[in-house]
């Protein structure tokens, strides 16, 4: 009942011995994720928390453990290199939590990834979770999720938790929730995730949360209009943001008319998405769309 991650996921954490990496690796494990390896250069040959082998390189870790998903908690200055190392080792899915990676680094990374089979989620994202498979790859609080048939995709972290919490409170479970990240250049777009949800037989409807900046919501609207037959509930935040000011996320800045919230809402409404009238009404808008 999910996309991208499930019971077959074998997780590797890059930066597992760091403060953040260690804290979240433990929570992923507690949620039920199959954590098979950690990587920290210089710490190879040790055991993390007496449970998980640590390797010096991704290549060694993959050879020994058949890890197939990488989760990155490496500081911003080294994160691009970490993504490249995982892609070079052939890991099919890489989720990068790190915030603050210089844009030109990500330009080079995304160019490299074009010639590789790896998919990158993020950076600057909360990760992804499939509650029905007890598989959590990221920093989201696991306990607010419940298994079900609604897919969630969002550029934000805590706002995604808000949406999930509203769904769970109304008894609407989730198939997979994907945070694609708040940076101007991210590995996986709304369109990519919408396509996966549309083709997933265990997803009945989709929540899509966007914000000001860029024009990815408009591309998503076109895709929804042409290809998505499942109900889509959407919220766009940043209606009150002034132009030219970065609202926290590096990508959340109004640089032209397409970047404004109103333009995104208009495109999504015209594409047939159900627009949540306020951030408090994501759950009930989905409830109405599902007719439950």
């Amino acid at each position: 009942m999910s996309i991208l991650v499930d019971e077959n996921t074998r997780l590797l954490v890059q930066g597992i011995t760091g403060r953040e990496g260690s804290f979240h690796a433990l929570r992923c494990m507690e949620y039920g994720t199959n954590l098979v390896a950690g990587v920290t250069p210089g710490r190879g040959g040790t055991m993390w928390e007496d449970k998980v082998p640590v390797f010096n390189t991704i290549g060694q870790a993959v050879d020994e453990t058949e890890a197939n998903v990488a989760l990155i908690f490496v500081p911003a200055a080294f994160a691009a290199d970490a993504i490249l190392e995982s892609a070079d080792a052939g890991i099919p899915l890489i989720a990068c939590i790190t915030e603050g990676i210089p844009v030109m680094d990500m330009v080079r990374v995304s160019k490299f990834l074009e010639s590789r089979p790896s998919r990158l989620i993020g950076p600057n994202c909360p990760g992804l979770i499939s509650p029905g498979s007890n598989c959590k790859i990221g920093i989201m609080p696991g306990n607010i999720h419940t298994p079900g048939r609604v897919g969630v995709v969002s550029r934000s972290g805590t706002l995604t938790y808000e949406a999930v919490n509203q769904l769970t409170a109304l008894g609407i479970g989730q198939s997979t929730c994907v945070g694609i990240g708040g940076d101007p250049i991210v590995g996986t777009s709304f369109v990519d995730v919408l396509e996966l949800f549309q083709n997933d037989s265990d997803t009945d409807a989709i929540v899509m949360i966007g914000e000001i900046g860029g024009s990815k919501e408009q591309e998503a609207a076109e895709y929804i209009r042409d290809h998505v037959t499942k109900p889509v509930v959407s919220l766009i935040v940043g209606v009150t943001a002034p132009p030219g000011k970065r609202m926290g996320h590096a990508g959340a800045i109004i640089t032209g008319s397409a970047a404004r919230a109103e333009e995104k809402v208009r495109a999504l409404r015209e594409a047939g998405a159900h627009i949540a009238p306020s951030p408090a009404e994501i759950g009930i808008t989905m409830k109405a769309a599902l007719g439950v």
């Binding site: 969002s154 995604t160 860029g214 959340a252 951030p279």
Partner: protein, 385 residues
């Protein structure tokens, strides 16, 4: 990070881009001395981190060194208000005195990151000297684009396409291509988010010249450019935003009277939107961060309290890594020091929310606790009094 025009032109010159002869003055006497070197006529330009200077009286052509001193005297030490600065304006502490140019034609040239193609794009237009946003909206066919593959870099043929596309005379194709290449070198070497020459002019003498220039540097890359950090002018920044940046708090000053503190940028924007739906206006954007400590929460809350425009406060915390009890202790610590009390509405959810709410209820701050964003909006409406 923004820098001044004179600093941007110095960087461009370093990379071989032709700029007018000029000097920077911080007193009328200096202005007069520099103007004397420029000949009879010169241009006096206020140095501020905002566009729209011309219309606001910040750019003036003068006919003598004495007039340059007089114009500089009017600008220096005062604030310049343009359509980009807000009503308070920004202080002018320096003016650029520049030689005048005989302009035959004006062009636009810029490099930015295009998130659609996931790479840099060069934009050029024969509609120079205008607001490029307006050109894009009304006559998009006048904007030429060249997407750059960062692996192979900007190619000579792309520069030629742009130069011919701008309709430049044959003898200027090579110099224009060199100039475009050099602007891209600046963009790449300095991790710019914007490298813009507007206008790029063709002079009556047949030379290309960067008459005005703007370089914005990417904040996330500043750590690897110590030479750029020295160019920061904190006088141009909002004092509250400057204070926030010292504590690594993501904060933007806005015009309303509802101070808000939230964890997470998306939820912060959602909270601002909810405030607007309650027919109120947010005083700020504030993301305290995912893993904030009690001290960081207290600092963020002090920032709200120190803003004289703030008449009521809305806190929205979705506890995850940041526990609600930690946030509550930070709020209480900051609010108890404050002399004036403003109504505080708090919505807490997630990790240790009950403990957090208990801490706030036990304090003598008279906090209104709410359960969701609709209730929060209603409580903010009521707090208007």
């Amino acid at each position: 990070m923004k820098i001044h025009e004179y600093q941007a032109k110095a960087v461009l010159a370093e990379f071989g881009i032709p700029v007018p002869k000029s000097g920077v003055a911080s007193t009328p006497d200096e202005a007069s001395a520099i103007a004397a070197e420029m000949g009879e006529r010169s241009v006096v330009k206020a140095q501020v981190h905002a566009g729209g200077r011309g219309l606001a009286g910040g750019v003036k052509v003068v006919g003598s060194p004495a007039e340059a001193a007089s114009v500089a005297g009017d600008l220096l030490g005062n604030k310049l208000v343009t359509h980009q600065t807000g009503p308070d304006g920004v202080p002018v502490t320096r003016v650029l005195i520049e030689e005048t140019a005989q302009i035959a034609k004006e062009y636009y040239l810029a490099v930015v990151i295009d998130s659609g193609s996931r790479g840099p794009v060069i934009m050029a237009s024969e509609a120079g000297g205008m607001d490029i946003e307006e050109v894009a909206a009304t006559t998009p066919e006048k904007i030429l684009r060249a997407n750059i593959d960062v692996v192979i870099g900007l190619q000579p043929f792309q520069c030629r396409h742009l130069a011919y596309g701008l309709g430049l005379p044959g003898e200027l194709i090579r110099p224009a291509a060199a100039l475009i290449t050099n602007l891209y070198r600046v963009f790449e070497a300095k991790d710019c988010s914007l490298a813009e020459i507007n206008p790029l002019v063709l002079t009556e003498e047949g030379q290309l010249l960067a008459l005005d220039a703007k370089l914005d540097f990417e904040d996330d890359a500043l750590a690897r450019h110590p030479e750029l950090q020295e160019l920061r002018d904190t006088d141009q920044e909002d004092p509250l935003e400057l204070e926030a940046s010292k504590f690594d708090i993501s904060y933007v000053k806005l015009d309303g009277d509802v101070g808000c503190m939230v964890n997470g940028a998306g939820l912060a924007m959602a909270t601002m939107d909810s405030i607007t739906m309650a027919e109120a206006m947010p005083a700020n954007f504030l993301d305290v961060g995912g893993g904030a400590t009690e001290e960081q929460v207290a600092q963020a809350f002090r920032l709200l309290l120190s803003d004289p425009q703030v008449k009521r406060i809305l806190v929205n915390v979705f506890g995850g890594i940041l526990r609600c009890d930690v946030a509550a202790r930070g709020i209480v610590a900051a609010a108890e020091e404050a002399e004036d009390r403003v109504p505080i509405v708090v919505r807490m959810l997630g990790t240790n929310a009950d403990e957090g709410k208990e801490i706030l209820a036990q304090s003598n701050l008279g906090v209104t606790l709410v359960n969701d964003l609709n209730e929060a909006a209603a409580a903010i409406r009521q707090a208007a009094g």
